[in-house]
Symmetry: C2
Subunit: 269 residues, 2 copies
Amino acid sequence: MPGGTQSVTRAFAILKVFSDARREWTLADLARTIELTKPTALRLLGVLEREGMVQRGRPGGSYRLGPRAIELGALAQRSIDFQASARPELERLAWMTGETTTLEMLAGTEILVLDFVRGRRPGSWGEYVGARWPAHAAATGKVLLAAARRERSEGWEQFLSATRGRLARFTPRTITTMTRLGEELTQAQRRGYATAIEELEPGYVAIGVPVENHAGRSVAALCIGGQSSRLTRDRRAVLLRALQESARRISAQLGANGATRPAVAAGRG
Amino acid sequence: MPGGTQSVTRAFAILKVFSDARREWTLADLARTIELTKPTALRLLGVLEREGMVQRGRPGGSYRLGPRAIELGALAQRSIDFQASARPELERLAWMTGETTTLEMLAGTEILVLDFVRGRRPGSWGEYVGARWPAHAAATGKVLLAAARRERSEGWEQFLSATRGRLARFTPRTITTMTRLGEELTQAQRRGYATAIEELEPGYVAIGVPVENHAGRSVAALCIGGQSSRLTRDRRAVLLRALQESARRISAQLGANGATRPAVAAGRG
DNA sequence: AACTATAGTCCACATTGTGAAACAGCATTC
DNA sequence: GAATGCTGTTTCACAATGTGGACTATAGTT
């Protein structure tokens, strides 16, 4: 860790312990888990509280994430300009296919769910904004990793150094060697899409296609996922076409292929 | 500012400069605006980048908010348990009335938009998650301030110390004195709702009602807002009834009035 | 070529942040 | 009801951490 960053790093270590499994923390408990002394943790929490990143019901109570975190997250989402363009397409796809559709981006060794529309079919997979899944076992992950490798972007370097060739196994079909993954990425790049057939979870199948921006960079990926029994080989071919059509439309709005990008008005009024 | 918190406070000062008006910042520009030296700003940005709170297209490029901010914000939203309960009611209200409906909470001297559904009527007010409006000029703000005052919670103390009796004017009808606001809050508390008739913006009218949790605390507020020409006195009476009915249902789900609270399943599967 | 931006590096210095110890409340337990 | 264990919080001596001036490198403009 580069020097001169201890306190800030610690502050974010505090924010990191908040999760769905554990949304509320007492000072002592939190200090113990991240190995800080109580005074230090208290001081850092003091800043976080003043900044609105955490809050507590009453003085002396336990901490939760606060309103500023919500605000910042919403702003970050809006800063990613493909969000707005993708929303109607997600809805369209979910409506047409009945399956859960998601918009995802690469974040380190994982893919991050930016937005989703749940399918109306019974037993559709649930998702949530901010969910993360290992990239090497996800259809979107393969597509985005393939693009990152091709573009020689830092995302690919990051992936290599973070995994160090170790790919975790989730099902019998998960790809766990870098050579096999390399082949898969090459195929994804050639075909322009990728699949993950029960590689992340038994019974779960997904198809992913890239969304490209004005500069031709793959900035995100669209995904349709659901039960393997319903997403048969034949049906996947149909879904793939719909997926590619949607991705093409979003990409066009981002200025890909020289298309002009419509201005989007926002705000009150 | 309490001691021992300089660097962390500065790190958050950096995050604060990102806004809808300015989503991208260069190092020098950022350092200048918040009056930091370049090395200091660079070091702090380094931590933020490593933490994924900010990102940049390529090394040496300009900074934007990053994926971790999205993740954190989404988690914070989920941590507030009334979010999930409120969503269907927002949709219901928007569908029934055709107007924009919002779910808001108090954050310092402002109210924060947690969620919203835009009305289908032409000229419906636009909103976005993370938007903030001054509490004293908003219907929801009055409702929540009234509750904070009654509950003697720290929110009220915060409001007093932050405003120091100074209430900004936005329209000729904005309440700008503390005595007048005090009266308004008393009325809001007695009636169980509040209105803001062209107090925030000319032509904009809103009605707000509180959402209460199991402990009887007003944790959020529901709001219907739109053009004054359409939200006439008579129609407001109708809308109020729908609003109160929705608030009652959400409050019930939060365990108010001794009602049992249904468990909510989440996650993949 | 001279000038003016930018991002990034280095390192001497002292301000800032640290954590042991002690304190004040509140439940349990003995 | 005293003792014990847990909270969250305050204090303060000490030095490690973070700071910023000076400098470098690279790019773009005049």
